[in-house]
Symmetry: C2
Subunit: 321 residues, 2 copies
Amino acid sequence: MRAVVLAGAGGPEVLTIREIDAPRPASRQILVRVRASALNRADILQRLGRYPAPAGWPSSVPGLEYAGEVAALGPGVARWKVGDRVMGLVGGGAQAEALVVHEDEALPVPARLDLADAAAVPEACLTAFDALTTRGRLTRGERVLLHAVGSGVGTAAVQIARALGATVLGTSRSPGKLEQARALGLEVGIATRESSFRDRVGAPVHLIVDPIGAPVFADNLAVLAPLGRLVLLGFLGGSRGELDLEPVLRKRLEVIGTVMRTRSREERAALVEAARSGLVPLLESGAVRPVIDRYLPMTEIADAHRAMERDETFGKIVVVW
Amino acid sequence: MRAVVLAGAGGPEVLTIREIDAPRPASRQILVRVRASALNRADILQRLGRYPAPAGWPSSVPGLEYAGEVAALGPGVARWKVGDRVMGLVGGGAQAEALVVHEDEALPVPARLDLADAAAVPEACLTAFDALTTRGRLTRGERVLLHAVGSGVGTAAVQIARALGATVLGTSRSPGKLEQARALGLEVGIATRESSFRDRVGAPVHLIVDPIGAPVFADNLAVLAPLGRLVLLGFLGGSRGELDLEPVLRKRLEVIGTVMRTRSREERAALVEAARSGLVPLLESGAVRPVIDRYLPMTEIADAHRAMERDETFGKIVVVW
């Protein structure tokens, strides 16, 4: 089978398409014939040699999410049959024509989505769903602030938060992305290229989902309401800066880190289980839809990386076999 | 009635004993004849003019906790009768011969405790109980690290964490306090006058309860296990320092601020309700006992402050009418 294989660490030119052996499903695993995958910032870090795959996952084949059909069953599989349409998150290896996953870690693809669209769902929607609900404990009527709202996670989080009854505020450096996010349910869009969001949030917010990190940490704490939660998803702006814990205590805030890739199989299965009841119905009803910037053939994976690095996309880049 | 009254802001000499009008219980309030109160660091900050009482509480009469007997009932009180022994937390005013509190905010004094001992229970035990359980989500078998383990909250937390099935580690600048804490259930005592606790914790810990703040923040994050929680109780060492959020994300940590005094009446009542079932039985069985350094007459309140400022105490200073 073909796969994207990293020929060393470096620029997009290290991404090659090669023939490798197809994996075989072990006990309770399914073999998935992958039709599409989508890009994540972690793919760029991995390509640069800064974010190796966790133990137990392919180290030289990138790809953190997939959609496809079940092609074969390992012993003891109860949940799926050959031909079922599935999607999911993996620790690596999704940018290949086939991969094996534990049956509990796959989600059904809703009938209204084709597989190219479904490939854009897992990382963005599961990360947003987990950040908003399990980690962030969002409740109806709360105000939630989403940084980098034009990203894959951001566009998923707008829709999920809105569907859960929240008022959604979001930031982006690009006024154009804010305009697009309004169509998804964003109520207050704040362009941050010229000034901080701090004075433009208005009433305090109850939950923040932040992939930026240290540069916005103090302002995040400043705009949170008492008992507010800041869920950290990444450090696009770096992790180091000045610390002042005073508002954490005074307002009894919570700062909550979350990352998907290093989770154990049990944790992934628990998240997928929560998503079966909490997220899949939102996808089935169309309340939440994957937001896709463009589709590219898998053979143009290098161009896909270049587009993501230019930060010009709104939503996900899907790569299709 | 007599009360401790702040004659301005400053040293212990601003603490005076004066006659003031006794309060009267309104709807669902009880009038408590106070027999004893206990000192808290917040009393010192308030005396210095740096920590004013929250709105709705006496501004010039200090005292955050009390034990006494119910002396009169306001309209609609269902939970108590005159003569019942009660204890509790207040936003201020406990260092007076009487105070009024909402009936839902008082706890029964266990039979094995006299009122002078019971006065040392509320702030230390409720803070420790809340930090460990509601905020920190301690579960049986976890390792918990308590900073300033010789403090009132520290000595309560050792016993509660131990009773809940945790392995308890603690730090103190004083080897003598660590020795005393061992008798309460402390398993690993770490003296921090000369070096950091970071290399002496051993296996990672799941929960930290910290009243120190910024100076130990990075080391706290370093010793936490994946999904560990850091509950911040205070800033004895200050709130400002260097920030590196990297471990928060990588290990999916939670940093949780908590403070008792600014809570709303509803929140106080909810905590007291949780304590009725989770904490009072531990006090009744003797699994958790208030740790009292000394008893002083209320008329020696200035000396009580001086003793606390010298940081020479192990457990609480109780002041008695």
